[in-house]
């Protein structure tokens, strides 16, 4: 994904612009479990998003990926192993997880 259209041919940009671009994007690692892991065919996805951004934007980016159509409208999410609202801000290095409907017991 490209932010602000700067993502193409980034190597050819002047160093100052390149640094500014890299400061605007981050790669969020998203943990997937159970039916969501089946949907995406993986247990971990790396999603590039603007930095920082609401975790809901991470979810929106994931909808464009194969299997993303199987996510519910408002999936449960966790940031750093605690439930979080979709408007919670994700920081670089946060541990994000999508939580399918839980079924313990």
């Amino acid at each position: 994904m490209t932010a602000n259209g700067w993502g193409t041919a980034l190597d050819q940009k002047p160093e100052s612009l390149r640094r500014r671009y890299l400061a605007l994007v981050m790669s969020v690692s998203v943990l997937l479990f159970a039916s969501y892991a089946d949907a995406f065919g993986t247990r971990r996805l790396v999603v590039p998003v603007a930095a920082p951004c609401p975790v809901g934007d991470v979810v929106q980016s994931m909808r464009t990926l194969p299997g993303g159509d199987r996510l519910p409208v408002r999936p449960l999410v966790a940031i750093n192993q605690a439930y979080a609202a979709l408007d919670s801000i994700v920081q670089p290095n946060d541990e994000v997880a999508l939580i399918p409907p839980v079924a313990g017991g």
């Binding site: 605690a82 079924a103 313990g104 017991g105």
Partner: protein, 164 residues
């Protein structure tokens, strides 16, 4: 010589500390007797034991077994939080709890909650409150393996699927 009817050495009359004593998400079979011994203490008059087990039928469909999966780090935290919150509102309640993950056969214990109290009311209500909250919050999932070879993740938000 000690007379045969002599009382055993008096135990401490200090009330045992209450609260969450043990909480774990484990791949090992759950030792219920050990959880009971953890919760047992001087002053306890009632122990309520809740066991969740793997059913052989779900919605009338024969089940071979169940695979439990967890977001393990968060599940450990949520399990302890759920039990701890019930202890916080139930003075004197002593709790030991384990949830098993991995592949389980029919009839095996998937979750065990021991809630101990001086009286039966808080012991029974405590175990009930913990299992209900656990089912709402703790990030654990179960995949049923059916006799016909199919498998499906149990989704309690879908009304047709019963939750164990």
């Amino acid at each position: 010589m000690t007379p045969p009817h002599a009382a055993p050495a008096p135990r401490s009359r200090t009330p045992a500390p209450a609260g969450l004593l043990h909480s774990a998400v484990t791949t090992e079979p759950i030792d219920v007797a050990r959880l009971i011994s953890v919760a047992q203490a001087s002053g306890i008059g009632a122990l309520s034991v809740f066991l969740g087990t793997v059913r052989d039928l779900n919605d009338g469909r024969p089940v071979l077994g169940m695979a439990y999966e967890a977001y393990e780090a968060m599940a450990q935290r949520e399990l302890a939080a759920v039990a701890g919150e019930v202890c916080d509102v139930t003075p004197g309640l002593r709790v030991a709890i384990e949830h098993r993950i991995g592949t389980l056969g029919i009839g095996e214990v998937s979750v065990a909650i021991v809630a101990a109290h001086a009286h039966r009311g808080p012991a029974l209500e405590g175990a009930r409150a913990i299992i209900e909250s656990l089912k709402q919050r703790v990030p654990i999932w179960k995949c049923e393996h059916y006799v016909d070879g199919e498998r499906a993740w149990v989704d309690p938000t879908k009304p047709a699927t019963g939750a164990g």
